[in-house]
Symmetry: C2
Subunit: 420 residues, 2 copies
């Protein structure tokens, strides 16, 4: 079989599995998740061994130690992955939830209930734990999953999927499948499997996501890039503003909800900037500032000249773009022009400023006096997340289990006829 | 300007208008809708005159009288269109609705609120009233709309949009725009305006919808085709089954929620089919039956042999495919294989059969003892609808005003830092 036929074959099997999964009650799915967790722990030696082959190849390829650390699995890490699966089992089942229900004037009883999406394809880079996390969340929500991980983690992913499938006693093993093929071709065929695959969720860098969005005929949920802003209002509490800025930028700079730009109201610039720049400098942050920012660069601060490109850059590093703005509305205009609509924060003591900022900023999450770092499924109380959507259709912001469902209407009558 | 530049230009203007519309309170939008309704009535002579040009051209082109009737506007029809706009004004505003809200363990207050989608593109065939209906619904939900109607209604649509825009005092006129160009090129450019247009909703025949789904890089909400099934269970009430089947097939055969196939349980076939086939015959329905159906064809019935193609056909006419099945599960399998996941109905007195059918059938709407014809935004109590989604992402089934919105998270703290 060619790659295309192989991909379509797994998609067809996933479709069949999805039909069997959809009506299953929670207890059956949770039992399978616990069996998966048990199997991961019991067979962790095997998994670690398969992972060693990926790690060895990555070393030969001259991969950085940072990336090798992300790729590496140990017995402890496998145990942590298994614990995450048990946690997913403990979460409520979204399937069957009635999201709307009433009796119509003619006596028809209408209920809108959550149902699984069907077949979910996940295209991801990065760590092998995503393989298990994604499988657990899709299984819990009654979906079949097609996993297409990074080719650098191919041996690890193959082992993890094999162990998970072996634990699916009573459930269709094809609920969890790896997409065959290691080259880009298999991704291409997955993106064209409309009618077999219900949704694709790409997780990874901007180039991966853009190529999926451009080429896919299967509906896509776009995740990720975060060019997040912190706006320090004229009426900000200075301690709070410095605290939030440092946290948003430095607490974990490599993630999508880290701040990439600070915008400072002109009226507070003189009071705020010397302190903020010093604090950023202490944390090793390089500030890419406009002229007004650079005018406040003092001892201990690293400030370079910002270019137009800086305003649109997701650094994911200890770099921060910085500009002084004349008003809240100018801050909003800047965000609208350069932002990625992920998360923006305002620091202010003014109720009217908070109200205007949250009304005008059109991002997945708007923080008032809180760090941008809180945009996260766990932090939001969803228990887990499959990614953070930066698009407006279907799901926006952190996606938990309900975002892996659709709905259907169930309408009950006693012989109701239209127009009768 | 070339067509592409013209389309991008209206999309950019729509984007700007959308930013201005998003924070508007309900009263402002409702006032604009009433002004639109007033203007449509006041200038109906102008609209009817423009429409006459379309009608004259359609006659020259040899268009059928049925299509000409659909295209034609009279003063009364314009008044009815205006009344529909006032009705939209009377509906609740979905924007600002809090769909989820709680305080997190760390004290952060989280609210998920409805916001407009932004720029909505509607690509439609058919009647010019859609131009006004779609504009009213998108405006009410705070969106800017790009309208791309049938070229056969170009003069009518141009007049209607001009009248509506002139009534938008105080609101950005670019909230409502016609996409320039009468050829397919302008549709193509609209489908590639990713980043400017937030969603495309094609309304019309299967070929229009498929081409949008295949070619668009803008997210699409698929509407429409309905190969709807009525399943008559072994335990059905015969009178009810005949009533529902006749209503679902014949009450308005040309619409997507009309039934196209009946599936009859073998155990009830002998009691049900002679009556049903006679009743269908009286209504002028041609039944395309399998061998078991044809065995029951008696006087007054028109029954022809069904081919494989019949099972997948949306007739939209007084034709009906019919098959006898051995079990409820076989009916479900048939629906899964040939259906379009729009609406299916079961007629049964058995609680367990109803429960199993609604659990296993994966369609936008599942009717128990009710006609498929009830799948409709008005019937479901939504007040109006922009179309019926047959896809699983974002919206499924009849789409009302809330389905024209996205959400954002507003999270409020008092200096909350992650990991602190």
């Amino acid at each position: 079989m060619g790659t295309q036929e192989q991909v379509l074959e797994v998609a067809r099997r996933a479709r069949q599995a999805a039909a069997e999964l959809a009506p299953l009650p929670r207890a059956v799915k949770d039992a399978a998740l616990h069996a998966i967790a048990d199997a991961l722990v019991a067979r962790s030696a095997e998994i670690v061994e398969a992972n060693a082959a990926d790690v060895a190849r990555a070393r030969e390829d001259g991969t950085s130690e940072y990336m090798i650390d992300r790729l590496s699995l140990t017995t402890d890490r496998v145990a942590a992955i298994a614990a995450a699966v048990r946690h997913v089992a403990s979460l409520p089942d979204p399937v069957g939830e009635s999201v709307r229900g009433y009796t119509l004037p003619n006596g028809l009883e209408l209920r809108q209930v959550r149902v699984p999406l069907g077949v979910v394809g996940i295209i991801y880079e990065g760590r092998p734990n995503v393989t298990v996390d994604a499988a657990a969340l899709t299984l819990k929500s009654g979906n079949a999953v097609l996993l297409r991980g990074s080719s650098s983690a191919y041996e690890s992913n193959t082992a993890l999927v094999e162990v998970m499938r072996s634990a699916l006693a009573g459930l269709p093993a094809d609920a969890i499948q790896l997409v065959p093929g290691r080259d880009r071709d298999s991704v291409k065929h997955l993106m064209r499997a409309r009618g077999l695959v219900d949704v694709l969720i790409p997780r990874g860098g901007a180039s991966l996501i853009n190529s999926v969005v451009e080429e896919s005929t299967v509906p896509v949920i776009e995740t990720g890039t975060g060019n997040c802003h912190v706006y320090v209002d004229a009426d900000a509490d200075l301690d709070m503003a410095v605290g939030i800025l440092i946290n948003a930028k430095t607490q974990r700079p490599s993630v999508c909800n880290a701040a990439e730009t600070v915008l400072v109201h002109r009226d507070i610039a003189e009071a705020f900037l010397p302190r903020a720049l010093r604090a950023l400098g202490e944390k090793g942050v390089t500030v890419h500032g406009d002229a007004a920012i650079r005018a406040h660069a003092g001892e201990g601060a690293t400030v370079v000249e910002a270019t137009e490109e800086d305003w649109g850059t997701e650094y994911l590093s200890l770099d921060l773009a910085a500009a002084v703005v004349d008003s809240l509305d100018d801050a909003v205009a800047h965000i609208r022009r350069y932002g990625s609509a992920h998360t923006e924060a305002i620091v202010t003591t003014s109720q009217s400023a908070a109200r205007r900022f949250t009304a005008l900023v059109d991002s997945a999450a708007v923080m008032v006096n809180a760090s941008t770092r809180f945009t996260d499924g766990e932090e939001f109380g969803f228990g887990a997340e499959i990614g953070i959507s930066t698009q407006k259709l279907h799901a926006r912001g952190p996606m938990g289990l309900p975002e892996l469902t659709s709905t259907k209407y169930v309408v009950t009558g006693d012989g109701h006829l239209k127009g009768a």
